[in-house]
């Protein structure tokens, strides 16, 4: 049996917090705590960010030139710094949105965040969904070829992955059909 590890990663992968924060900064400079609140509100349903995560992510983005400090507010409190996205940061968000995720199950956090951030920034969410659907179907094709040529064990393992990827695809399809409605709610 030689089914490669298309389905070996069955753990829930954390989505790219850096990209999500960059995406949120596209609408204007914000404080770290402000960013945390915006993130939690949109994407943090059961797993809000820790402040530590926010600041370590921001300092990495700062070091890589994707954000820049946009002034310090007068007043009390430890963190009154505001951060702004740079041109390089915008390019990085563009690239993230237009690159499909490697098709594996449990992508919902990342895919949902990409759709919302595309809508928030006035980009095409349909484009994001179509790119992803093509990547998913390409992987499903490969699994199908492997299944057709394989023994029963290969078939069962490939089928397991195929059914899960199909569930993702159904979600992509359903979301594509409701993009206009979601746009209204997200930008309200």
């Amino acid at each position: 049996m030689n089914t490669p590890g298309v389905y070996t990663v069955c753990i829930v992968l954390p989505m790219s917090i850096g990209h999500a924060l960059l995406g949120l900064l596209e609408s204007g400079p914000r404080h770290g705590y402000d960013l945390k609140r915006a993130y939690d509100e949109r994407f943090g349903q059961d797993r809000p960010l820790h402040y530590g995560q926010v600041y370590s992510t921001l300092s990495r983005l700062l070091k890589n030139g994707l954000v820049t400090e946009a002034g310090v507010e007068a007043g009390e409190g430890p963190e009154r710094k505001r951060y702004a996205i740079t041109d390089a940061g915008v390019t990085d968000v563009e690239r993230w949105l237009s690159t499909p995720e490697k098709p594996e199950p449990y992508l919902q956090n990342t895919l949902y965040a990409k759709v919302v951030l595309a809508l928030l920034s006035g980009r095409s969410a349909t484009e994001v969904l179509d790119t992803q659907r093509a990547a998913h179907l390409a992987t499903m094709r490969e699994l199908t070829r492997r299944k057709v040529d394989g023994d029963l064990a290969d078939q069962l393992i490939c089928d397991f992955a195929l059914f899960h990827l199909e569930a993702d695809l159904r979600w992509l399809e359903l979301t594509a059909a409701r993009v206009d409605q979601l746009a209204e709610e997200v930008t309200r």
């Binding site: 093509a134 990547a135 390409a138 499903m140 094709r141 057709v148 199909e166």
Partner: protein
């Protein structure tokens, strides 16, 4: 080099705009899945491509011949000699046996009964349903019936098979078996397949997909 090419197709049914500028290109021997939400115009596109339904505007070319400029007689001749069809159900003649059903297209082209039935039996065998040759379609299971329908679509050696939800009435296992047999046979004979389906696992038997949304089609050629 394209085998079948549609450009700028529009088609309305009363106030319903089923196609609004749809296009698609099919190359010889490739299996193309046509996907998209219910009511988006997939079947209408397939019917226009196959010369079953005349579009309101736009063109369909088969090789260098313009299908949309042919008269009814020329179009049905083309369908009989170059195309094969598989639908969700209801395509077999209930009064004939499965063998006679598969032999029918050859008989209509003037082939002798004995020769037609020999070819038909061969195709039933390739689709692993020689066992139902002497039964009528009503006496077979859904999966067997669809394999007989695939045999009938392939028996004339068509250049294009049009399949509209061919597995829509089957369970996963039977549906996939039919898809495997259909695509294998098509690849062996060099026939192209235009496969309308909303099931991703069925579409995964294709070489590439075209997505139809609101009467417009979009080729997705994913670079790998």
């Amino acid at each position: 080099m394209s085998l079948l090419r549609a450009e700028g197709l529009t088609k309305s049914f009363g106030k319903t705009h089923a196609l609004e500028g749809a296009g698609i290109t099919i190359r010889a021997g490739e299996v193309v899945a046509v996907m998209g939400p219910s009511g988006s115009g997939k079947s209408t596109l397939l019917h226009c491509l196959a010369g079953i339904l005349p579009p309101d505007s736009g063109t369909v070319h088969y090789g260098d011949r313009e299908l949309t400029a042919m008269n009814d007689g020329e179009r049905s001749e083309l369908r009989r000699t170059e195309f094969g069809f598989v639908f969700q159900f209801g395509q077999l003649v209930p009064e004939l046996t499965c063998l006679e059903n598969v032999a029918l297209p050859l008989r209509l082209s003037g082939m002798k009964r004995k020769d037609a039935e020999r070819a038909a039996r061969d195709w039933l065998g390739r689709l692993e349903v020689d066992g139902v040759a002497d039964q009528r379609p009503g006496e077979t299971s859904g999966g067997q019936g669809q394999r007989v329908a695939v045999a009938r679509a392939l028996v004339t050696g068509p250049k294009v098979i049009f399949a509209d939800e061919p597995t829509g009435a089957l369970d996963s296992l039977n549906g996939e078996r039919v898809m495997h047999l259909l695509t294998t046979a098509a690849r062996e004979t060099g026939a192209a397949v235009v496969l309308v389906t909303h099931e991703p696992r069925v579409a995964a038997y294709s070489d590439r997909e075209v997505v139809v949304r609101d009467g417009r089609s979009r080729d997705v050629e994913f670079a790998r």
